[in-house]
Symmetry: none
Subunit: 401 residues, 2 copies
């Protein structure tokens, strides 16, 4: 949580409603042929109109030059110092599928992979097998037993699952088994520190048992495990800001993140339209909503400039519906940039806008990197965005006499 | 080094090459008659073209309003907090002429000066006597002995030398003997704290002996001593960024600075053309180069606007040669501004540009203060520049899941 000793003194609960729309991987970078970024290339009449009556700027997720994962990127937007509060992928994934975690449990992200006859990786994602094929395999893995601990394996989606190890004396300093390249064998996990020895032995035993159970198959005949992690201790989002927060996110990882900071995660469907349905139905139940839009990031990660442009246009089409709900404060932000020309996350500052009754006379001509760079918000650390949203919502009282 | 607990986790070694060209005193200020700065006045076709396909911005070397010396200015560009890692001029000067310093040694910058018959300063630099004249005088000074310590005096160039005091119980809190104005006598050095008493007594004895040895001469008949300092403890640049850094600098002080942070200082000649020869010959030996261009600063310090413009144009002419080497990332930066209208260093933010394959669609119309102020990098602390250079070179992996 943002390091303000007097934060709890100046936050107050009011009927006003804040919607924080996080467009994952929102920011981009200019295409070398056109000199225009994805946002500049896209036709975004609704976002541009919103920018015309919003305060615009650019957020820095972590620090200049630092490329954040989705975890640090979202933590920053929620106001948590992403350097202080780093958390593991295993924990996020587990929370995203509603697994109850205790403070001593070690979670790991897992996925099925395919080995050749020599035990070398030919596909790190086992052909992205569908859930229908992976579900029975997860059940097999869930029956694996290792003495001294309790193991649970949960399906996530397609080729992905979560392994949770419960027991005494477990720590999460365990090296991952994914070599990150094909043509090599899965790595043997080892302890990265003294206190993680037991957990490392358990993971090793589980991986060996998994190979035995799955080994007869043509594909999805082994597992890769990474992101070993325990629950971090985080200040509660709602308590910190005196808010009653609701989270609407189709993807497990973002639900997990929201749950981790204590938001009420509202069940929703798989698409952004489902998310908007959920938001509409629950709009009177909370005074803050975290709403997540995933597709633009995925297209950027694929290095598909045109697809990312299209995903941004699809988001744009849904802005009127969102505005129709009449949030007092609407924030459009991104957790990080995902420039298609890089086919991955990047360090670039991310466009942001805040719309409220106070910003009708402010505004930038369009919603993209270049116009936001001269917007009235300037550049700000992403961790400060929540304070601005709270301020526009009338939820922050004066500091000091 | 920039204060990121996870820096070593995200740096990786790759074949890509970074060149950090530091144009000393690069930034300027508008001339009152034309409203144009030195960079705006100069004809810089190559730098402007580079800006057209680079990400541009302005760096703040230390802090708003703070005028840095060359030491802090360079330390910041290398990513070291210049407030935390302050170092003395004596140490820099000693390292620049390849003097081996131990952790307890106190170094001082020295120069010959001329006193009149009453012992008052008439020339603080003794008419800038050439090395041919000063070398035998340095030998005389080197023979001075003070009980309890070992003294060494080394020639630097022209009227300048270095005094190194070696022995037990020395600290560097000694006041300088240069009154900074003519018409006054050299100051008597004194201890600025308890632990520096011994060193202060040694300096006092040395200064008295120097006056005795040189006193019979018409000019260069006394010395001035300042910048008393010991080696600071600095994190290693190459280790911190996982780089194999080479430094090419004609002037001793900048070589000293590079050596201090652990760079490999490559022997070179006296001109920037010599430096470019050296860079070319060694380009395959390192993945990072610090390349120093001095003349613009010297012209600015002389208050010669036209001369500084000319020095910038001379740098511009050499940019094609530099680009011809094909660095993956080329950064053009300055350690501080040296506006000719101030005839000295200043606090003004300094133009900067980063060129890489990722910046081809970005760019500013020219390379000067005004155009860079609206560049896509915005304003950034100089300490963050290395992170950006590393990011553009693909040498920083993602932080967090």
């Amino acid at each position: 949580m943002i390091d303000l000793p007097f934060l709890s003194d100046i936050c107050r609960t009011t009927p006003s409603k804040i919607v924080l729309l996080v467009a994952d991987g929102l920011g981009g970078a200019p295409h070398p042929d056109t000199g225009k970024s994805e946002l500049e290339t896209a036709n975004l009449p609704n976002l541009d109109a919103l920018a015309g009556e919003s305060s615009c700027g650019l957020t820095t997720p972590v620090m200049t030059g630092i490329t954040p994962g989705s975890g640090p990127g979202h933590m920053a937007l929620f106001g948590y110092d992403p350097i202080k509060y780093l958390m593991g992928r295993g924990v996020l994934e587990a929370l995203g599928i509603d697994v109850e975690l205790g403070p001593g449990d070690v979670s790991s992200r897992g996925n099925f992979c395919t080995l050749d006859g020599d035990g070398l990786l030919v596909d790190r994602r086992a052909g992205r097998i569908p859930t229908a094929e992976s579900a029975p395999l997860v059940e097999l893995l869930d029956q694996i037993e290792v003495p001294g601990v309790s193991l649970s394996v949960y399906p996530v989606q397609d080729y992905r699952f979560v392994l949770v190890i419960r027991g005494e004396g477990l720590d999460d300093g365990v090296s991952e088994t994914d070599p990150q390249v094909v043509g090599e064998a899965p790595l043997v996990p080892h302890a990265l520190n003294e206190s993680s020895r037991k957990a490392a032995e358990v993971v090793k035993a589980f991986a060996a048992a998994a190979q035995e159970v799955l080994g007869g198959r043509d594909r999805a005949n082994m597992v890769l495990l990474r992101g070993f992690s325990k629950l971090p201790h985080l200040p509660d989002f709602g308590e910190s800001y005196s808010l009653n927060p609701g989270a609407v996110a189709a993807y497990p990882m973002y639900r997990g993140l929201a749950k981790l900071v204590g938001m009420n995660v509202i069940p929703t469907g798989r698409s952004f339209d489902d998310e908007l349905d959920t938001l509409e139905k629950n709009f009177d139940k909370h005074d803050f909503f975290f709403l997540h839009y995933k597709p633009a990031d995925a297209a950027g990660e694929d290095g598909d400039f045109e697809a990312k442009v299209k995903c941004l246009e699809e988001l744009d089409e849904r802005i009127p519906r969102l505005r129709g709900l009449g949030p007092d404060v609407l924030v459009v932000a991104g957790d990080h940039a995902t420039p298609a020309i890089m086919a991955g996350h990047s360090w670039h500052p991310v466009p942001v806008m805040i719309n409220s009754d106070l910003t009708k006379g402010d505004g930038s001509p369009a919603f993209h990197e270049r116009s936001c760079s001269t917007g009235s918000l300037g550049r700000l650390p992403a961790t400060e965005l929540m304070l601005l949203a709270m301020a526009h919502a009338g939820k922050l009282v004066k500091y000091g006499p």
